[in-house]
Amino acid sequence: MTETLTSAGPAPAVTDDPADTVIAVRNLTKSYGDRQVVRDVSFEVRRQEIFGILGHNGAGKTTTVEIVQGLRRADGGEIRVLGLDPARDRDELTSSIGSQLQSSALPERLRVAEALRLFARIAGDVVDWRELAAEWELDRLERTAFGSLSGGEKQRLFLALALVQKPRLVFLDELTQGLDPTARRETWRLIERIRDHGATVVLVSHYMDEVERLCDRVGVLHEGRIAAIGTPSELVTEHGGAVQTRFTAHDADLGPTLAALAGVTDVHVDGTAYQVAGTTEAPFEVARTLDDHGLRPRDFSVLRPSLEDVFMTITGETIAATSREGAGR
């Protein structure tokens, strides 16, 4: 079921049991000076899922995940990561967390093999860096300096570095930003491999297609608040609006028949072009009706709302609500 937390009501109690809940955040707040960037944010991340945090630039995504990793202090709220308090137990958590930060790099002249060897050593040599290099197809780049790597190769290296301590939880912040489509899809494949290795992944992104493709569940952050949480499918069903069915039909007046079908909410006819809006059941009903009339339009198409539509709806609603609140004061 889709959980919507647009109000600042009490969130579920956070437990210290790390069995299934890997991250539990309750009523998190953070300000920089007078600017409140994270407002009463609550969410949970479950074991071995890819959890997406989606939002515009400046929505509070990076701040949230940096606080969860213990890299920044929260102003308020309660956080448990693998049963630990990241602010208090950061050193203990480090060995269980792999991380790729949005704004971080390596020295330009550091070679791939040197980076892998160094970070593996820092992590206590729990993995063989040469095996890691081979697994992530970095072995042919071992002598290449970081500054000479392509965008996709850099991200592959960051992913490998995030895994040198065999983490149970991996944070990936805007991993595919600036990559070309081919490199992005290659990176997606690698992210799924991390999860397949048994780790839980928190993926921060503002790319809708990426989140929809990869994430088991998604939290939409807007203006520092969690606007909605759910699986991509749940969010689309809840917030995505009507499914559109389109086709062309000659020599038939189907409007009234289609409008009476179960799940159909609106029928628009423009000459021979039909556009039927409705629930996810509506296209099936429309197709059956057309078949009953002996019609099989070759241009029959169904347009399902995407996560992008959900995002625009959610953030648009919130903007509208904020405007109304402001006008009401």
């Binding site: 890299l71 930060l101 820092i122």
Partner: protein, 250 residues
């Protein structure tokens, strides 16, 4: 191998790939020493130079010049670029504290300074001959205190300045006057009293003066050590201030 050792080894390799820094640490001091010691070879033993010749004056002084070039033109740029590019944060998420990275860079700086000083001697020996060291322990004490003061100053600059460009510009702005007035340029005896007073405020002046006194005369002055200890304290306070202002080194 500890994290600090592994990091220091890697940082050393990275430093060795930075040609601009290598030139300032290893080529510039011996080159300038050879030129100035040669230009003023016939000078000395008067009220300008004191009880020494121009050649020995510059050989002894230039032992301290790599320290200034590394501390002001190398270390701050490396550190500032690490902050600017998020490399310190990258290390931090892997459990490496910023203080460990800073310490590793300072250790590499120290090794570079030692190598630079050896190069000055190695170049001076066949060209002019190296004067006898009257007080080796005194020379080491000056180098140790001077290294502490200058490298800490370099760390403070690297942490305070937000970009490597700024660190490069400010570092050069500090290095060049300090180099010219602090022992790398004309002797203090030819300076006006105003310039001489400015030079007295600079840590490099007390490093080169302390080196000459200990090396050539076996007469290490406590005043030079106090100046260097004072500068070290100031540099440490600056590092603490930057850390407190930013709450961390990120």
């Amino acid at each position: 191998m500890s994290t600090l050792t592994a990091l220091s080894v890697t940082e050393g390799k990275l430093y060795a790939r930075e040609w601009g820094m290598l030139v300032f640490a290893f080529a510039f001091p011996p080159l300038m020493m050879v030129i100035l010691a040669g230009v003023f070879a016939g000078e000395g033993f008067d009220e300008v130079w004191g009880a020494t010749g121009g050649t020995d004056y510059y050989i002894a002084s230039y032992l301290g010049i790599p320290l200034a070039s590394v501390a002001l033109t190398g270390l701050p740029v490396m550190l500032a670029s690490y902050r600017e590019l998020g490399i310190l944060r990258r290390f931090e998420v892997s459990g490496v504290k910023a203080t460990t990275v800073v310490t590793a860079q300072a250790l590499v700086g120290l090794a570079t300074v030692a190598l630079g000083a050896v190069l000055v001697l190695a170049v001076a020996a066949p060209v002019y001959g190296v004067p006898a060291i009257e007080d080796p322990l005194g020379v080491l004490v000056v180098l140790a205190l001077g290294s502490g003061a200058m490298l800490t100053l370099g760390v403070a600059l690297g942490l305070a300045l937000r970009t490597s460009r700024a660190a490069n510009a400010i570092g050069m702005l500090l290095f060049l006057p300090m180099f010219i007035l602090g022992g790398g340029g004309p002797p203090a005896g030819v300076m006006t009293s105003a310039m001489s007073n400015v030079a007295d405020l600079m840590p490099l002046t007390h490093i080169t003066e302390g080196l000459r006194q200990a090396w050539l005369f076996g007469d290490l002055q406590a005043t030079e050590l106090l100046w260097l200890a004072g500068w070290w304290a100031v540099a440490l306070a600056l590092v603490a201030l930057v850390a407190r202002t930013r709450r961390s080194f990120q």
